[in-house]
Amino acid sequence: MDINSNLNTLGRLRSSNLFKVAFGFRETSLIIIILLVSSSLSIFSPYFLTNSNLSSMGIALVADGIIAIGMTVALVSGNFDLSVGSIMGLASVVAGTLFLAGYDIWVACTIAIIAGLTCGLINGFFVGKVGLNPFITTLAMMGIARGVAYIFTEGSPVSLRGVPEVFRFIGTGSVAGIPFIILLLIGVTLVVDYLMRRSEPFRKVYYIGSNEKAAILSGINVTKVKMGVFLLTALLASIAGIIALARFGVATPTTGEMAELRAIAAAVIGGTSLKGGEGSIFGAVLGVLLLAVINNGLVLLSVSVYWQQFVTFLILLVAVTIDHLSHRKTKTT
């Protein structure tokens, strides 16, 4: 009876917002999927559970994780931001170039972050104030920021020789055996997740995502909230860029390409609705983790490069479907 399943679908879209509950579900079902994939991996490859493998996996997903967190906030507000990947690239290129131009690295980074925030401000202005559609606005910004990165570098990578160790530490150091940037990601996750649930400005993000008109008629300054949202996504993207710079000691204009798609995918896997008003930071990070585990598996099981893309996305589709159906079940009973 597809008509019912359709109504259910709609029903779910509505009722899957029983927060605590949905929250619970999401996490559990997603965690279970990740555990399943991981355990089967550890069976097929003895190397999966080795320290070096896990830490390299963890390090590799930090940038995506941080960006996905910002993206989730944007999605909850009913918008989305395609420019994060480019902003990440821009930030790392700007910081790199300025450092080579003789600036102190921290000054360079500050300026880079300001550059990133400017992009966010422009996004916020055109979406929140002018009222342009967020897709087209951030798509344009995606091109503009990337373009600036190319102009800065003329296409060639900027390598940081003789950058202070403390800076490289951000990207390469570790605390008590755990890579610093992983701790950073955990920190950001916890903070933003908490703020989303408990803080006043972030509560407004849910309101405008849920019903913009009602938000306006509740005296919420929608423009300001949207500005804030795009500033946040830009800030996190810039930080990701700086981290990449500190990690690789080099900034290339291509840094962060496709990051926006991975971020949105992760957020959606994590149970964030593209319709706005609903979303889980923790879920998004788990989404990033799932994608990372899958990629890792392809390498460890040395899947032919020509098959990798196919396999990755097949698994993605399966995972999302399982997740989705598991929710339907828990709903309809």
Binding site: N53, S56, M57, A60, F248, V250, N295
Partner: protein, 312 residues
């Protein structure tokens, strides 16, 4: 490349050292060859060569890499391969600095590492086997000069921001500037890694610069796009085209005269000698030191010799 000592293929190496059956490795000895944009046809013959050598030594060979062009992902792949403790890794460094750390860490774990195609000179890699993209660009320039009688305007079509390709371009441009005063690069067009985009960009350039007499398409798809753009502009007879790489499609175009020539890098050599080097390093078969740089050779493919380059 940093290292000056250029050696030709060092068969001599095989005579050294005395252990019984030094050239019989075991199947549980695994060697990896890693690339970026790993789906590209370009790497296939690298792996073919790598495999050939691997089979001769009786060891296991594997090919992997980041399907995209993403430093983060490439490094992750390298580190995750290293985590499986293989005997050796031959890697095309997507970026010299980014791979420096990972390569050094792999070496510390006793994994032999050589670079091919794209180097990471500051790293502890034992050797770099490549045509030298810059060199290949120079050779393309010389041949272009022949085709154009050393005069006229030239357009470049390539994927901007992709480092090994940018190096070819640099090589090409410097050679033109140095040696051929009457030739001039007037256009740089971006193919964004897709023949459709390449054709779009070059087509417009040909409109804007009616005097273009030569096109250097510095990577595979660029060649395909360039041929179409020139044909659609109806200027095939006025414009010379030199492509890069030897995928069957480009070879077809050479033999059908849609493209005048293409550059064949010694990709199979890169693979073969990378494997050979890694094996020698692993088994201490080499004399004191292996050459830090090996020029794997480069050829110009034209209608005359094209048939030799088709791989079965």
């Amino acid at each position: 490349s940093s290292d000056a000592s250029v050696a030709k293929q060092p068969e001599s190496a095989s005579e050294t050292t005395v252990s019984e059956a030094p050239f019989e490795g075991s199947k549980d000895e695994v060697y990896y060859v890693i690339s970026f944009l790993s789906g590209l046809d370009y790497w296939k013959s690298v792996f073919d060569g790598f495999q050939k050598a691997g089979d001769q030594f009786g060891v296991e060979t594997k090919y992997t890499g980041d399907p995209g062009y993403d430093i983060n992902q490439s490094v992750a792949v390298f580190e995750q391969v290293a985590a499986t403790k293989p005997a050796g890794i031959a890697v095309a460094a997507i970026n010299a600095d980014a791979l420096e750390g990972p390569i050094n860490r792999a070496r510390e774990q006793g994994i032999e590492v050589v670079t091919y195609d794209s180097d990471s000179p500051e790293s502890d890699r034992s050797s770099f086997l490549s045509t030298g993209n810059a060199a290949a660009g120079e050779i393309a320039a010389t041949h272009m000069a022949e085709l154009m009688d050393e005069e006229g305007e030239i357009a470049l079509l390539y994927t901007i921001g992709q480092q090994n390709v940018e190096e070819r371009i640099t090589g090409f441009v410097t050679a033109i500037e140095k040696q051929y005063p009457n030739m001039k690069v007037v256009v740089r067009a971006n193919d964004s890694g897709d023949q459709t985009e390449g054709a779009r960009a070059l087509a417009a350039e040909l409109q804007a610069n009616p005097n273009i007499k030569g096109v250097f398409a510095a990577n595979g798809v660029a060649g395909l796009g360039a041929a179409t753009a020139v044909r659609e502009a109806g200027k095939r007879d006025q414009i010379k085209i030199i492509g890069f790489d030897t995928d069957s499609a480009l070879l077809d175009m050479v033999s059908e005269g849609e493209v005048d020539a293409t550059i064949a890098q010694g990709t199979e050599n890169m693979g073969y000698w990378s494997m050979a080097f890694l094996y020698h390093l692993k088994h201490d078969l080499a004399p004191e030191s292996l050459p830090g740089f090996v020029d794997t050779g480069v050829n110009i493919v034209t209608k005359e010799n094209v048939e030799e380059f088709y791989v079965e």
